[in-house]
Symmetry: none
Subunit: 213 residues, 4 copies
């Protein structure tokens, strides 16, 4: 009962509660969706009771929205990673796509946010916007900048694709969608698929000799 014994004092516990609840809410909402999740399920996961959840969040709806925001911001460390890219444009694009892949399709948390965005998107547009601002927009901006730079320097082709560089990221969605639907029943090698995709968009499928002729 001395102070040193309890690693988590009451005060600490209290301070952590909202965070814990948001984490538990994430798990439950992601697994069952908004409507099918009961506030009590979330509480039970933390071995507390419904009432306690309502001490920190006024309604289920607010809890859901804060959970989403919390989950989204807590895993959004793309920008720092983007700043560290080095090498040729092609190399940096490649690395950027791999980073985006790791953060979007390969990270369970971000992937489940995508699921929620798709499932409840019509109900809560802010959710989608939130995801967009934090994940999509920075990645696209970086991609656009990189392609532009590469075209300017002559490293990359000046082509229709240069205008919509987001297509470069398409396979990320493919892997994410696959994982969300198959629920790990048929796992795919996402990284290998990403590498294939990058190789493909970099060098094309058609024989270059054909183009030379």
């Amino acid at each position: 009962m001395e102070r040193g014994v309890k690693k988590t004092s009451r005060a600490e516990r209290k301070a952590r509660r909202p965070h814990e609840i948001l984490e538990a809410a994430f798990e439950e909402f992601a697994a069952k969706g908004y409507a099918a999740t009961r506030v009590e399920d979330i509480a039970t996961r933390l071995r507390i009771t419904k009432g306690t959840v309502y001490l920190y969040f006024p309604t289920k709806d607010v809890l859901f929205q804060e959970m989403f925001r919390h989950a989204a911001t807590s895993s959004a460390d793309l920008s720092t990673a983007i700043g560290c890219l080095r090498g040729s444009c092609a190399e940096r694009i490649r690395d950027l796509l791999l980073i985006a892949y790791e953060n979007t399709a390969n990270d369970r948390k971000t992937r489940e946010l995508l699921r929620l965005s798709v499932a409840e998107g019509a109900r809560l547009p802010e959710m989608v916007d939130c995801r967009h601002e934090l994940f999509i927009a920075p990645t696209l901006a970086a991609l656009t900048a990189l392609v532009k730079e590469g075209v300017k320097s002559g490293e990359l082709r000046q082509d229709t694709a240069a205008d919509t560089p987001d297509v470069l990221a398409s396979s990320i969605f493919q892997v994410a969608a696959w994982r969300l639907m198959s629920a790990d029943r048929e796992p795919i090698d996402g990284k290998a698929l990403m590498e294939s995709h990058i190789d493909l968009v970099m060098h094309g499928l058609v024989q270059p000799s054909g183009r030379m002729a």
Copy 2:
């Protein structure tokens, strides 16, 4: 009682009911998800009462599953289209991708089935398998065959991408995901994006001269 007045006789009405209900169920379930949709909403959409819905489907759950199967099969006419492809391998791949795009990302019905697969997929694996068999599998099979043929004839590069031809279809998912999330608030030109993607994967982003050196 004159002939012209009542176009729909009792028998006709009855014959159409299951179909009507499945259509209405599709709209409601797609818009709000399984749990948040009330059977009464589906009924009201048809100006009938809950009871009538239960005359044709024993439970909400069965209604959902039959709705999914119905919606999936009613829009699956890919295989016939696939059989009509003509031209070089590259051309046929291009056309195939555009067809798949039209059927998956651009068709509201199929797109909403994707949403349901993502949203309720964990709950109902058969749904996902159903979608896979009807949409994904045939497309991938056709793509694989085309790439193999192209590589053999020398038209296409023998490369890593040839082993996982499904990456060719990745942008379809991207467009679909985008549309599902933005709910038409920020429409994108899917066809243009598809064209860009096809152009990209066909000819590559990197300057061919660079590869020659």
Copy 3:
């Protein structure tokens, strides 16, 4: 299609309908009770539809009551049997009790009416009165007359029992109650029990020698 071929003409069928429905209603109500029986169950038993039942009976409630009355009157042929009794008073009492047993505890129909009287009796007092008039009252009247006659002639003891001759019939209820509850899972030899009971009430359990002393 000739007249002779159809054994049951349409008219005959029609005339029999109410009777058939009442019989079917008896089976269903007896098996499940009033509230748990659906009008459709009754119709299905006759391979007709609900609507047809309502053609003959305005409500479920009326159907129930008429079913009860019909079932009760159709099996009430006690009085004729009572008139045929012959022999000494003791013999006639014995035979009367055996007849009453056959008609009340051993006859499925009458037994089920007892079940309904007990189950729904509070709801429908007329039912009970109906049963009483048709079964109980005549039997008791006959019993009373027989006991009175026997006492007068000196064949039977003048005792308290002579005042409430209905106790003579008590084991009928016992067998009936047993059968209603055990639902044939533990059949009992009702006739043997009745014989025992009759023997008992006739000659007593206590050693007569004890009384002589």
Copy 4:
């Protein structure tokens, strides 16, 4: 907030709730039968709401079964009474039958359990078995033992009735059945009828002198 005002604290209330609900359920189910009783009726009787009932019992069906078990066990104090019998065999049999009468036919609770057993017996065989074990079996066992003892000591006749001593208890069922059906509209003097019955089975209806000849 003074002590005297709130006799029932929250904890007390909660501890009593299951018991209260079972009692209320007994009243409602006994009065209207399983199917015709609404969970809300049970709640209203306690001035609480449906929801509260479901806090303690998961379904109406479970509530019914637990109610039955509760009511059956709460009124089963036969065995102690049976142990206190004194006097000659005939006296003890007499007293035993009167006790059984008090507990079965004359006790409203037990009588209503008989009604439920008859009414819903086909649906729930365990109910009947439960009643049998708690009421019928011990009484019959005691009766059998007493008759056997009496026959051995010569106090009682060795006769057919000695083999099926349950007929001794038959009038209990008669009184119970009568009360269940007449619903107190035509009250009978159960005790007098029991006394008559006991007298009858003890000494017989037929003149003993007749037997001596």
